[in-house]
Amino acid sequence: MSLFNLVLSVLVIGATFFVFGQRAAAGQQATGTIKLHSRSHYHGMWAAITSTLPALLILLVIVLGKNLLFQHWASHFFPPEVAGGDAVDRAIALAKITNVVDGIKFGEVEPWVQSAGEAWTRWESDTIIVANVLVLGVSLTGGLLGYRRISFKFRARNHVERILTWMLIGSSTVAIFTTIGIVLSILFESIRFFKLIPPQDFLFGLEWNPQFEGAERAGSGGGTATYGMIPMFVGTFLISFIALAVAVPVGLFSAIYLAEYATLRVRGIVKPLLEILAGVPTVVYGFFAALTVAPVVKSVGESVGLEVASESALAAGLVMGVMIIPFISSLSDDVINAVPQALRDAAFGLGSTKSEAVRQVVLPAALPGIVAAVILAVSRAVGETMIVVMAAGLAANLSFNPLDAVTTVTSQIVTILVGDQEFESAKTLSAFALALMLIVTTLALNYYALQIVKKYREQYE
């Protein structure tokens, strides 16, 4: 039975128990003059929960845990030199075995790999049977046990509500587990990377030239691999800077115009139009940048005698700037509107023109909020992926020239991790180290922005 059908069966069993539970409770009430503690549908829900919840939890554990268990079992097949080897050897061995399981063949397969693969396939099919039997059995047993507890004095509602409360609490911990998942997955691999490449080489290295180990060993890779992240961070911040140079003036002045000058009608039309820019998927921006903007930038640049790379930082940055305009304008609009009207009145009462009031009173008062908006925008730009993957190059030039091709942290991560990867190679692991730097940067920027916003709120509350 497929996973989907199994889940469906459990739900059907649960629904059946609901009906029977409710009938049983209602029946008890009908036979006598006794009053149920809880209304009959709570008894039904109780039976439904006891039949579905434990069964689904067991299924979840099986689905998520089986692979770990199989890996453990498969390690018994390892020959001594692999079992005694380091993590890399074991990961490669496991990869060979899973290839056999998936029916992918690369050349000669060692006998122990073949037998481990066959065993693994057997475990897979056995697990399906075990899972089916176990889940359906637990579902039926649980339902029956729950059903038997139904009586007129059974406090079904309290039990159901307690379980619901725990389910709510469980749901809200998903955010924590997601964070833990992100941090651990990136941290572990980064630590492994830093065992291969010293952190100072990574943090301060000026050259980025990742190589697959195979190529390095064979001497065909063109020199040794170097993993210095500086060129990528320079590229990232160069593109972000260009983006902000577009987005901040346009977004801020749009916000000022919409908040202070525009009539309600104009505001009602322009604001949603700007929001559309925020809703366009980044892959569309990337396509636009690569196909339309980059050639224009190149031909314009060359017509005035400049040398422009066909994947220039300028094109990617310009388009990223367009993407960020609505972000800046709506955040700035909010903070400008949050400036108390009393301050504007004071300025107008003294005979300020509108622009004097805006420039000398409103903007200084809104400045912290605007700064926070800009910082948040930087964090968006740094984490943006598709535009740079499609429109910025992959050449890790250490350059501050917007007309050069540069690469960014996110586009390197995508390039390294998309497609086939070599296990445990420094190149694959370097993507995780880059991701670590990426989240540290974005979270720091966000934290800083939120601190500013907090202070700003206190000022007016």
């Binding site: 004071a346 009462g349 003294l350 005979g351 009173v361 200084p364 008062a365």
Partner: protein
């Protein structure tokens, strides 16, 4: 005759609703030496008729107070006098308000010039989140009143002195104006208005957010300022109106019911509504 009429109404009607609101204002709308003259002013907020056909002179060198129950239009009318209502989109004003025989709603009038001549102090103290000095210097700076730093310093100092705040703040001019107490903030706002050297100062319930001691100081200040400025003050406190103003105007439901010398209005009101209000029957 009007007196008779109103006393007759007091005798014959027991409910306020029954009182008729006169078509025209009772008392003396004219002033001897008018600085501003309002004629047949109507104000609409979208569909709401907020001010209904008001005509009134603001006498030069006088303090005139506007009183009346809340929502009677006294603040709205005050804000018409320097076109502060322009900032509200749905607001429409018709009629004439003259200053030096020029209609301030005329298209040739620059609202910046007008507001430099007719300054305003608001209900809640609203200092800018800047230093005390910059607060007072704001007006002179934008209007280019000072030709040098020395002159600017002089304007700031005299303004603060006239607002009676100089002694309290002279050692901390670079500290934020928002750090002062409520009463000090309001005097700072008055100093800020004075610094532009206006002819008229409009005050919209300037003491409503202040404690009695701060209120007393502001009232004292108003009595001193009357020597050089024409002051229009909206107040919900009849005692305050009686203490500080030369003339008093009573507003009711968007109409100017009665205007006259403060003493006369408070001791011998012409209209029963005024009488009811000042004797505290409603409001």
């Amino acid at each position: 005759m009007q007196l008779e009429e109103s006393s007759r109404m007091v005798q014959t009607t027991s409910t306020l609703e029954a009182r008729t609101i006169p078509d025209s204002t009772l008392g003396q709308i004219h002033a001897d030496n008018p600085r501003m003259k309002a004629r047949n002013v109507d104000v609409f907020y979208a569909d709401k008729h907020a001010i209904d056909n008001i005509s009134l002179d603001i006498g030069s060198g006088q303090v005139i107070s506007f009183i009346g129950p809340s929502g009677c239009g006294k603040s709205t009318f005050l804000r018409c006098l320097n076109r502060m209502n322009d900032t509200i989109d749905s607001c429409r004003v018709s009629g004439e308000i003259m200053i030096d025989d020029q209609n301030i709603y005329d298209s040739s009038i620059d609202v910046v010039l007008l507001r430099a001549r007719v300054g305003m102090v608001f209900q809640k103290p609203n200092p800018f989140p800047k230093s005390i000095f910059d607060n007072v210097a704001y007006g002179p700076r934008i209007h280019g009143l000072a030709t040098s730093k020395v002159e600017l310093d002089h304007i700031v100092e005299t303004s603060l002195q006239r607002a009676g705040l100089w002694e309290e703040v002279k050692d901390r001019l670079d500290q934020p104006g928002t750090g002062l107490s409520g009463g000090q903030q309001q005097r700072l706002c008055i100093a800020r208005a004075i610094a532009v050297s206006p002819e008229v100062i409009l005050m919209d319930e300037p003491c409503s957010a202040l404690d009695p001691i701060a209120t007393a100081k502001i009232e004292e200040l108003i009595s001193e300022l009357r020597e050089q400025y024409t002051i229009v003050i909206v107040t919900h406190s009849m005692q305050q109106a009686a203490r500080v103003s030369d003339r008093t105007a009573y507003f009711h439901l968007g109409k100017l019911i009665e205007v006259g010398d403060t003493k006369q209005v408070f001791t011998n009101p012409l209209h029963a509504l005024t009488q009811d209000y000042i004797t505290g029957r409603f409001g």
